[in-house]
């Protein structure tokens, strides 16, 4: 348990909430009929998803030839989208795990939705390599199991196989972490519901009653899952970067890739969390729980990781020149001034320059600025992956095989379809489960509620002393 809260900390729960009010505010949205905005958004998402499914069926029917990927640019739109989505899938577990270990209480406002986002983003990501195999019905060949094909085993020395293990593990652990945290909140929904809804939530809340021993074990489990998820989340994008770094392609074969990819993943993940949170808090009236302080904290993370990514771009350029290796020099010359110069400009502008406005506190705390910069970052990080993948491959060792790539309507359809999948799942989640971790918010109310902090704390002096007393006992 943490020590007493610093006086200069900003409150994280606004509006003088009581425990019951927190329940009303956070569980309430699951109990009302969906509003028009939700229905319109859901319809659009399902239609987009439908178009994605159509494009996927088209791909399966006609084969990968329906894509514009070619012999030179074999990894193109699909792997770009894969890396982009998997990067977005990094913020959720980072928020839940690393911020839990660092005792950053502001995680409680956003962790539930961010974890959900992680899970849905990883699902979208997994779709691309699974399809890119060309015959997805044989994808189970990727798993090492005793077989009659030789026996022919998978290559355990290959980063592509490490990736398969990393991403399946990441998905499974994130899902367990997320659902275990959700169980007590589903029990709250259950205890307020009637009829069929009560039966449904009773099934999914697993018989949770809030026993002291169960809470104790629940906290242990969360803490240890956080402990093992922390290296896991760092390993996933490290391994994704190995897909490139262990090759012999100039521009890919660089040791800077793992930290640079991990920073980029956190950067894009937080940007997507911001995009979603700004909309979610508005739609569900959660301004008291996802406060300007939460938004500012996340903007600080975006600024730090954006600057790290930006430095990595500049270091890459410098090292390419400094190496004296002409192929490396050409690869980077080609990135900046080659046929895809526009994607390099997009990458630099959106990732290196745009987030720098967050040095200003007023902009960090401004909702509109936050929203637009988060969109810029999402776009910029897509360009980054496109620059690394397509631009690099377009100009390889053999000028006779140089090529240009532009996605076909089928590829665009699949990409757009993953947005449909992502938002359909997110909208369903936001309807059926509390988007803010209700029990966790209640647990920090007496330390971070606005009525217990700063000037207001004086009126609650009795409570405050008692809280510290309780925590003091907890230490022994």
């Amino acid at each position: 348990m943490s020590a007493a809260v610093s006086r200069i900390r900003e409150p994280l729960i606004m509006g003088n909430k009581s425990y019951h009010q927190i329940t009303e505010d956070l569980i309430g949205p699951t109990e009302k009929a969906p509003n028009r905005m939700w229905i319109i958004a859901f319809t659009l998402s399902v239609m987009t998803l439908g178009y994605g499914i159509f494009s996927l069926c088209w791909t399966f029917w006609f084969g990968i030839g329906a894509w514009n990927a070619n012999r030179t640019i074999g990894w193109a739109y699909d792997i770009t989208n894969f890396v982009w989505w998997i990067g977005i899938g990094h913020a959720g577990t980072l928020i839940s795990a690393i911020l839990l270990l660092f005792r950053q209480r502001w995680r409680t406002g956003v962790n539930r939705a961010a974890e959900a986002m992680t899970i849905f983003a990883v699902m979208c990501a997994g779709l691309f390599p699974a399809t890119h195999t060309g015959r997805p019905w044989f994808d189970f060949f990727m798993f090492p199991y005793p077989n009659t094909r030789g026996p022919l085993w998978v290559n355990f020395n290959s980063p592509l196989l490490w990736d398969l293990f990393a991403i399946s593990t990441y998905f499974t652990v994130s899902l367990l972490f997320w659902y275990t945290g959700l169980v007590p909140d589903l029990a709250t929904v259950r205890d307020r519901a009637k009829g069929v809804r009560k039966k449904l939530y009773a099934f999914f809340s697993m018989g949770w009653t809030g026993k002291a021993k169960h809470w104790q074990r629940h906290e242990y489990l969360s803490l240890i899952l956080a402990g093992i998820s922390t290296p896991l989340v760092l390993s996933v994008h490290t391994i994704v970067s190995f897909d490139f770094a262990t090759s012999v392609i100039p521009g890919w074969h660089t040791t800077i890739f793992p930290p640079y990819f991990v920073a980029g993943a956190i950067f894009s993940g937080f940007a997507m969390v911001q995009t979603l949170m700004v909309i979610t808090r508005k739609c569900f009236g959660l301004e008291g729980y996802i406060t300007t302080n939460h938004i500012e904290s996340m903007n600080k993370v975006i600024l730090v990781t954006g600057t790290m990514v930006g430095s990595a771009y500049l270091i890459e350029l410098f090292i390419a020149w400094y190496s004296g290796y002409i192929y490396e020099q050409f690869a980077f010359y080609n990135r900046v001034l080659g046929p895809y110069y526009w994607s390099y400009i997009g990458m630099m502008g959106c990732n290196l320059l745009a987030p720098q406005v967050f040095w200003s506190k007023n902009i960090r705390r401004n909702i509109w600025w936050t929203f637009f910069i988060s969109i810029f970052v999402n776009i910029g990080m897509w360009f980054e992956r496109f620059v690394i993948i397509a631009t690099t491959l377009a100009r390889d060792y053999l000028p006779s095989s140089w090529s240009y790539y532009w996605p076909s309507w089928v590829e665009i359809g699949i990409y757009v379809g993953t947005f449909g999948l992502f938002f359909t799942l997110y909208l369903v989640f936001a309807r059926v489960a509390p988007v803010v971790a209700t029990a966790e918010v209640k647990a920090i109310l007496k330390q971070y509620g606005d009525q217990y902090m700063g000037e207001n704390a004086k009126h609650h002096h009795h409570h405050h002393d008692a809280t510290e007393d309780v925590e003091h006992d907890g230490h022994h």
Binding site: W153, F156, W162, D191, G207, G210, I224, L225, V470, G474
Partner: protein, 182 residues
Amino acid sequence: MKGHHKEVLFGLYNDEEVLMNAVKKANKQHLDIMDVYSPFPIHGLDPVMGLEESRLHIVGFIFGMLGTLTALIGISWIFGGSLMFHGDWPTIFGGKPYWSLPAFIPITFELTVLFCAIGMTVVFYIICGLGFGVDNPVLDDRITDDKFCLAFQTNDMDASAVDNLKGFFQSTGAEEVHTKTI
């Protein structure tokens, strides 16, 4: 639970600090607490209630080790080249030895984490008696909302002992006192 009904007398408190003081007082009076239920974990309650530390981390460690061994033994058995295994199908990749440990580390790490997480979570649900479709009796619907519940089992108590408990609840600031058979 058929044939084994529990008579439960429980008090609902509005605040976890009041509940905590009640638990301390119950200890002083040597009252036999059945359980405490709350909408969120109350820090510092475990030692007061005399709950032992959870040993879930040991479960996690054992499953983690199982994952490590599964990966290392599995890959070694397939690729061979080590002292223990001649290999089911040894293959040379890029001129590296059959048994090239550094290349096996990422998968070994992932399986360690995977086994640890699944094992620990499943064991958590089993030892807590929780699972999809489990229907545990709920003392009061507001315990998952804003009430903090202290419960005593009164099956073998005479009327005066029950009255004593009711007096205890009143003196410790319980907002409501109820009985329920579960």
